[in-house]
Amino acid sequence: MDVARLQTASNSTRNLASAQENRRGKVPKIIVEIMPKQDLLDPQGKAVANSLHRAGQEEISAVRIGKRIELHFDREITDQDLEMAKDQAANFLSNDVIEDVIAITKED
Protein backbone atom coordinates (compact mmCIF):
# COMPACT_ATOMS: atom_id res chain seq x y z
CA MET A 1 0.00 0.00 0.00
CA ASP A 2 2.75 2.39 1.01
CA VAL A 3 4.65 1.71 -2.19
CA ALA A 4 1.53 2.39 -4.26
CA ARG A 5 0.90 5.56 -2.35
CA LEU A 6 4.51 6.67 -2.80
CA GLN A 7 4.29 5.99 -6.51
CA THR A 8 1.08 8.02 -6.76
CA ALA A 9 2.78 10.80 -4.84
CA SER A 10 5.79 10.75 -7.12
CA ASN A 11 3.53 10.71 -10.19
CA SER A 12 1.61 13.68 -8.98
CA THR A 13 4.90 15.48 -8.22
CA ARG A 14 5.97 14.74 -11.75
CA ASN A 15 2.61 15.96 -13.10
CA LEU A 16 2.94 19.08 -11.04
CA ALA A 17 6.47 19.64 -12.36
CA SER A 18 5.30 19.26 -15.93
CA ALA A 19 2.31 21.51 -15.25
CA GLN A 20 4.70 24.13 -13.92
CA GLU A 21 6.87 23.67 -16.98
CA ASN A 22 3.80 24.26 -19.12
CA ARG A 23 2.91 27.32 -17.20
CA ARG A 24 6.42 28.69 -17.69
CA GLY A 25 5.66 28.36 -21.38
CA LYS A 26 8.00 25.58 -22.35
CA VAL A 27 5.36 23.84 -24.45
CA PRO A 28 4.37 25.74 -27.59
CA LYS A 29 0.66 26.40 -27.30
CA ILE A 30 -2.23 28.44 -28.57
CA ILE A 31 -4.49 29.78 -25.86
CA VAL A 32 -8.15 30.40 -26.64
CA GLU A 33 -10.12 32.45 -24.12
CA ILE A 34 -13.91 32.34 -24.14
CA MET A 35 -16.43 34.26 -22.05
CA PRO A 36 -20.22 34.02 -21.75
CA LYS A 37 -21.85 36.95 -23.53
CA GLN A 38 -22.13 40.11 -21.42
CA ASP A 39 -25.92 40.24 -21.40
CA LEU A 40 -26.36 36.59 -20.44
CA LEU A 41 -26.76 35.45 -16.88
CA ASP A 42 -23.59 33.72 -15.67
CA PRO A 43 -24.83 31.56 -12.77
CA GLN A 44 -21.35 30.34 -11.79
CA GLY A 45 -20.05 33.89 -11.61
CA LYS A 46 -23.07 35.00 -9.61
CA ALA A 47 -22.63 32.20 -7.04
CA VAL A 48 -18.91 32.99 -6.67
CA ALA A 49 -19.66 36.71 -6.30
CA ASN A 50 -22.18 35.94 -3.54
CA SER A 51 -19.58 33.86 -1.72
CA LEU A 52 -16.96 36.60 -2.03
CA HIS A 53 -19.44 39.09 -0.63
CA ARG A 54 -20.08 36.77 2.30
CA ALA A 55 -16.32 36.71 2.87
CA GLY A 56 -16.42 40.48 3.21
CA GLN A 57 -15.27 41.41 -0.30
CA GLU A 58 -18.26 43.60 -0.95
CA GLU A 59 -16.39 45.98 -3.23
CA ILE A 60 -16.36 43.27 -5.94
CA SER A 61 -19.33 44.28 -8.02
CA ALA A 62 -19.57 41.16 -10.22
CA VAL A 63 -17.76 37.94 -11.14
CA ARG A 64 -17.88 36.32 -14.55
CA ILE A 65 -16.39 32.92 -15.33
CA GLY A 66 -15.17 31.88 -18.74
CA LYS A 67 -12.94 29.24 -20.27
CA ARG A 68 -9.28 29.04 -21.15
CA ILE A 69 -8.51 26.33 -23.68
CA GLU A 70 -4.89 25.42 -24.46
CA LEU A 71 -3.93 23.74 -27.73
CA HIS A 72 -0.50 22.17 -27.22
CA PHE A 73 1.98 21.39 -29.97
CA ASP A 74 5.18 19.34 -30.08
CA ARG A 75 6.71 21.77 -32.55
CA GLU A 76 6.82 25.46 -33.30
CA ILE A 77 3.49 27.13 -33.99
CA THR A 78 2.97 28.45 -37.50
CA ASP A 79 0.65 31.10 -38.91
CA GLN A 80 -1.49 28.29 -40.33
CA ASP A 81 -1.89 26.86 -36.84
CA LEU A 82 -3.17 30.23 -35.65
CA GLU A 83 -5.60 30.37 -38.56
CA MET A 84 -6.78 26.87 -37.69
CA ALA A 85 -7.22 27.89 -34.03
CA LYS A 86 -9.23 30.93 -35.08
CA ASP A 87 -11.46 28.74 -37.21
CA GLN A 88 -11.95 26.10 -34.49
CA ALA A 89 -12.52 28.76 -31.84
CA ALA A 90 -15.34 30.24 -33.92
CA ASN A 91 -16.92 27.00 -35.10
CA PHE A 92 -16.36 24.46 -32.36
CA LEU A 93 -14.70 25.72 -29.18
CA SER A 94 -17.26 28.51 -28.74
CA ASN A 95 -20.91 29.02 -29.64
CA ASP A 96 -21.49 32.55 -30.83
CA VAL A 97 -25.10 32.54 -29.66
CA ILE A 98 -24.02 32.36 -26.03
CA GLU A 99 -20.27 33.07 -25.93
CA ASP A 100 -17.60 35.45 -27.22
CA VAL A 101 -14.03 34.51 -28.12
CA ILE A 102 -12.03 37.10 -26.18
CA ALA A 103 -8.51 36.27 -27.28
CA ILE A 104 -6.40 33.81 -29.23
CA THR A 105 -2.75 34.04 -28.26
CA LYS A 106 0.39 32.13 -29.06
CA GLU A 107 2.84 31.11 -26.36
CA ASP A 108 6.17 29.53 -27.32
Binding site: L40, L41, P43, N95, V97, I98
Partner: protein
Protein backbone atom coordinates in the same frame (compact mmCIF):
# COMPACT_ATOMS: atom_id res chain seq x y z
CA UNK B 1 -40.88 1.85 -41.72
CA UNK B 2 -37.45 2.26 -40.18
CA UNK B 3 -36.67 5.04 -37.71
CA UNK B 4 -33.07 5.30 -36.52
CA UNK B 5 -32.14 6.25 -32.96
CA UNK B 6 -28.57 7.46 -32.48
CA UNK B 7 -26.73 6.46 -29.33
CA UNK B 8 -23.83 8.70 -28.28
CA UNK B 9 -21.60 8.02 -25.26
CA UNK B 10 -23.76 9.35 -22.41
CA UNK B 11 -27.11 9.08 -24.18
CA UNK B 12 -29.82 7.91 -21.77
CA UNK B 13 -33.18 7.81 -23.52
CA UNK B 14 -32.30 5.84 -26.65
CA UNK B 15 -34.14 2.72 -25.47
CA UNK B 16 -37.22 4.76 -24.56
CA UNK B 17 -37.20 6.36 -28.01
CA UNK B 18 -36.90 2.91 -29.63
CA UNK B 19 -39.83 1.70 -27.56
CA UNK B 20 -41.92 4.74 -28.53
CA UNK B 21 -41.25 4.04 -32.22
CA UNK B 22 -42.27 0.41 -31.75
CA UNK B 23 -45.50 1.39 -29.96
CA UNK B 24 -46.31 3.82 -32.78
CA UNK B 25 -46.00 0.97 -35.27
CA UNK B 26 -42.53 1.61 -36.66
CA UNK B 27 -39.30 -0.38 -36.62
CA UNK B 28 -36.59 1.21 -34.46
CA UNK B 29 -33.03 0.92 -35.79
CA UNK B 30 -30.22 1.50 -33.25
CA UNK B 31 -27.48 3.71 -34.71
CA UNK B 32 -24.03 4.35 -33.25
CA UNK B 33 -22.45 7.81 -33.05
CA UNK B 34 -19.13 6.66 -34.48
CA UNK B 35 -20.70 5.10 -37.58
CA UNK B 36 -21.56 7.31 -40.55
CA UNK B 37 -23.88 4.61 -41.94
CA UNK B 38 -27.46 5.53 -41.07
CA UNK B 39 -28.66 2.16 -42.48
CA UNK B 40 -31.13 3.72 -44.94
CA UNK B 41 -33.59 4.74 -42.23
CA UNK B 42 -36.68 6.78 -43.14
CA UNK B 43 -36.28 9.16 -40.19
CA UNK B 44 -33.90 9.74 -37.25
CA UNK B 45 -34.35 10.52 -33.56
CA UNK B 46 -31.55 12.15 -31.55
CA UNK B 47 -32.52 11.12 -28.02
CA UNK B 48 -31.99 12.76 -24.63
CA UNK B 49 -29.19 12.29 -22.16
CA UNK B 50 -25.76 13.80 -21.61
CA UNK B 51 -23.78 13.02 -24.75
CA UNK B 52 -20.02 13.17 -24.10
CA UNK B 53 -20.79 14.16 -20.50
CA UNK B 54 -21.95 17.61 -21.69
CA UNK B 55 -18.23 18.43 -22.12
CA UNK B 56 -17.39 21.78 -23.74
CA UNK B 57 -21.10 22.65 -24.17
CA UNK B 58 -24.22 20.45 -24.19
CA UNK B 59 -24.33 18.74 -27.59
CA UNK B 60 -21.18 20.43 -28.94
CA UNK B 61 -19.05 17.31 -29.32
CA UNK B 62 -21.95 15.14 -30.51
CA UNK B 63 -22.57 17.72 -33.24
CA UNK B 64 -19.21 16.71 -34.75
CA UNK B 65 -19.73 12.93 -34.55
CA UNK B 66 -19.68 10.93 -37.83
CA UNK B 67 -23.35 9.91 -37.46
CA UNK B 68 -24.40 13.53 -36.88
CA UNK B 69 -22.50 14.69 -39.97
CA UNK B 70 -24.55 12.22 -41.99
CA UNK B 71 -27.75 13.47 -40.31
CA UNK B 72 -26.82 17.03 -41.35
CA UNK B 73 -26.23 15.90 -44.94
CA UNK B 74 -29.50 13.96 -45.20
CA UNK B 75 -31.59 16.56 -43.33
CA UNK B 76 -30.79 18.97 -46.16
CA UNK B 77 -32.44 16.45 -48.49
CA UNK B 78 -35.56 16.25 -46.33
CA UNK B 79 -34.85 13.36 -43.92
CA UNK B 80 -37.18 13.82 -40.90
CA UNK B 81 -35.09 14.45 -37.75
CA UNK B 82 -36.41 14.80 -34.19
CA UNK B 83 -34.09 16.07 -31.44
CA UNK B 84 -35.33 15.54 -27.90
CA UNK B 85 -33.70 17.43 -24.99
CA UNK B 86 -29.97 16.72 -25.48
CA UNK B 87 -30.93 15.88 -29.07
CA UNK B 88 -32.34 19.42 -29.41
CA UNK B 89 -29.05 20.76 -28.04
CA UNK B 90 -27.19 18.68 -30.64
CA UNK B 91 -29.40 20.13 -33.40
CA UNK B 92 -28.65 23.73 -32.42
CA UNK B 93 -24.94 22.95 -32.07
CA UNK B 94 -25.10 21.38 -35.56
CA UNK B 95 -26.77 24.55 -36.88
CA UNK B 96 -29.70 22.48 -38.17
CA UNK B 97 -31.80 24.71 -35.90
CA UNK B 98 -31.01 28.30 -34.84
CA UNK B 99 -30.41 29.67 -31.34
CA UNK B 100 -28.93 28.09 -28.22
CA UNK B 101 -29.85 26.48 -24.91
CA UNK B 102 -28.53 27.73 -21.62
CA UNK B 103 -28.86 26.83 -17.95
CA UNK B 104 -32.38 27.08 -16.56
CA UNK B 105 -33.28 30.52 -15.25
CA UNK B 106 -33.60 29.37 -11.64
CA UNK B 107 -30.55 27.04 -11.86
CA UNK B 108 -32.55 23.97 -10.83
CA UNK B 109 -32.73 20.76 -12.78
CA UNK B 110 -36.46 20.47 -13.50
CA UNK B 111 -38.40 17.22 -13.81
CA UNK B 112 -42.14 17.42 -14.18
CA UNK B 113 -45.10 16.89 -16.47
CA UNK B 114 -45.33 19.96 -18.66
CA UNK B 115 -48.20 21.38 -20.66
CA UNK B 116 -47.33 22.53 -24.19
CA UNK B 117 -49.24 24.12 -27.02
CA UNK B 118 -48.68 22.79 -30.55
CA UNK B 119 -48.09 26.00 -32.50
CA UNK B 120 -47.18 24.41 -35.81
CA UNK B 121 -48.91 21.19 -36.89
CA UNK B 122 -47.39 21.19 -40.36
CA UNK B 123 -44.04 19.61 -39.50
CA UNK B 124 -43.02 16.00 -40.13
CA UNK B 125 -43.39 15.26 -36.42
CA UNK B 126 -46.59 17.20 -35.56
CA UNK B 127 -49.02 16.64 -38.44
CA UNK B 128 -51.44 14.50 -36.40
CA UNK B 129 -51.92 17.23 -33.78
CA UNK B 130 -54.60 19.90 -34.04
CA UNK B 131 -53.29 23.43 -34.37
CA UNK B 132 -53.12 24.97 -30.85
CA UNK B 133 -53.75 21.58 -29.25
CA UNK B 134 -52.56 21.45 -25.66
CA UNK B 135 -50.56 18.38 -24.76
CA UNK B 136 -48.90 17.07 -21.61
CA UNK B 137 -45.49 15.41 -21.72
CA UNK B 138 -42.62 15.07 -19.24
CA UNK B 139 -39.86 17.69 -19.08
CA UNK B 140 -36.50 16.99 -17.42
CA UNK B 141 -33.50 19.21 -17.98
CA UNK B 142 -30.94 21.50 -16.44
CA UNK B 143 -30.03 23.49 -19.53
CA UNK B 144 -33.30 24.08 -21.32
CA UNK B 145 -33.46 27.86 -21.53
CA UNK B 146 -33.92 28.66 -25.21
CA UNK B 147 -32.21 31.85 -26.37
CA UNK B 148 -31.66 33.49 -29.74
CA UNK B 149 -30.90 36.92 -31.12
CA UNK B 150 -33.79 39.36 -31.63
CA UNK B 151 -33.56 38.85 -35.39
CA UNK B 152 -33.72 35.06 -35.07
CA UNK B 153 -36.71 35.26 -32.70
CA UNK B 154 -38.52 37.58 -35.09
CA UNK B 155 -37.79 35.25 -37.99
CA UNK B 156 -39.03 32.19 -36.03
CA UNK B 157 -42.26 33.99 -35.10
CA UNK B 158 -42.90 35.32 -38.59
CA UNK B 159 -42.18 32.06 -40.37
CA UNK B 160 -44.29 30.01 -37.96
CA UNK B 161 -41.24 28.01 -36.93
CA UNK B 162 -42.04 27.80 -33.23
CA UNK B 163 -43.38 24.26 -33.00
CA UNK B 164 -44.24 24.19 -29.28
CA UNK B 165 -44.69 26.75 -26.54
CA UNK B 166 -44.84 26.20 -22.78
CA UNK B 167 -48.35 26.81 -21.42
CA UNK B 168 -49.30 28.12 -17.94
CA UNK B 169 -45.68 28.37 -16.78
CA UNK B 170 -42.32 28.82 -18.41
CA UNK B 171 -40.13 26.30 -16.57
CA UNK B 172 -36.69 27.45 -17.63
CA UNK B 173 -36.74 31.04 -18.77
CA UNK B 174 -36.96 30.21 -22.48
CA UNK B 175 -37.45 33.28 -24.65
CA UNK B 176 -41.02 33.68 -25.99
CA UNK B 177 -41.95 30.53 -23.98
CA UNK B 178 -40.31 28.42 -26.69
CA UNK B 179 -40.29 24.67 -25.97
CA UNK B 180 -39.43 23.53 -29.49
CA UNK B 181 -38.74 24.83 -32.98
CA UNK B 182 -38.57 23.56 -36.54
CA UNK B 183 -36.47 24.33 -39.61
CA UNK B 184 -37.82 26.09 -42.68
CA UNK B 185 -38.78 22.86 -44.41
CA UNK B 186 -40.47 21.35 -41.35
CA UNK B 187 -38.51 18.09 -41.45
CA UNK B 188 -36.20 18.94 -38.52
CA UNK B 189 -37.86 19.48 -35.12
CA UNK B 190 -36.17 19.96 -31.74
CA UNK B 191 -37.79 20.29 -28.31
CA UNK B 192 -36.73 20.09 -24.67
CA UNK B 193 -39.65 17.99 -23.28
CA UNK B 194 -39.70 14.22 -23.81
CA UNK B 195 -42.52 12.83 -25.99
CA UNK B 196 -41.00 9.32 -25.77
CA UNK B 197 -41.95 9.21 -22.07
CA UNK B 198 -45.66 9.65 -22.80
CA UNK B 199 -46.48 6.82 -25.18
CA UNK B 200 -48.11 4.05 -23.16
CA UNK B 201 -50.98 4.12 -20.68
CA UNK B 202 -49.73 3.19 -17.23
CA UNK B 203 -46.34 4.85 -17.76
CA UNK B 204 -47.16 8.39 -18.92
CA UNK B 205 -48.08 11.60 -17.10
CA UNK B 206 -51.21 11.82 -14.93
CA UNK B 207 -54.28 13.15 -16.74
CA UNK B 208 -57.71 14.18 -15.43
CA UNK B 209 -58.99 10.81 -16.72
CA UNK B 210 -56.60 8.51 -14.90
CA UNK B 211 -53.20 8.26 -13.29
CA UNK B 212 -50.27 7.88 -15.70
CA UNK B 213 -52.58 7.60 -18.67
CA UNK B 214 -51.00 10.39 -20.77
CA UNK B 215 -49.93 9.26 -24.24
CA UNK B 216 -49.69 12.60 -26.08
CA UNK B 217 -46.11 11.80 -27.09
CA UNK B 218 -47.20 8.93 -29.30
CA UNK B 219 -48.53 11.32 -31.96
CA UNK B 220 -45.00 12.62 -32.68
CA UNK B 221 -43.95 9.19 -33.88
CA UNK B 222 -47.26 8.36 -35.55
CA UNK B 223 -47.04 11.68 -37.44
CA UNK B 224 -43.67 10.86 -38.96
CA UNK B 225 -44.71 7.29 -39.78
CA UNK B 226 -47.80 8.56 -41.58
CA UNK B 227 -45.71 11.05 -43.55
CA UNK B 228 -43.18 8.43 -44.58
CA UNK B 229 -45.93 6.03 -45.69
CA UNK B 230 -47.59 8.73 -47.79
CA UNK B 231 -44.40 9.90 -49.47
Amino acid sequence: MKIGVITYPGTLDDRDAQRAIRLAGGTPVPLWHDDDDLKKVDAVVLPGGFSYGDYLRCGAIAAKAPATKEVIRLAAKGLPVLGICNGFQILVESHLLPGGLIRNEKQHFICRDQKLRVENNETAWTSLFEKDQEILIPLKNGEGGYIATDDTLKMLEQENRIAFRYVENNPNGSMNDIAGITNERGNVVGLMPHPEHAVEAGFGPDTPTAMRSGIDGLLFFESVLKMVVNS
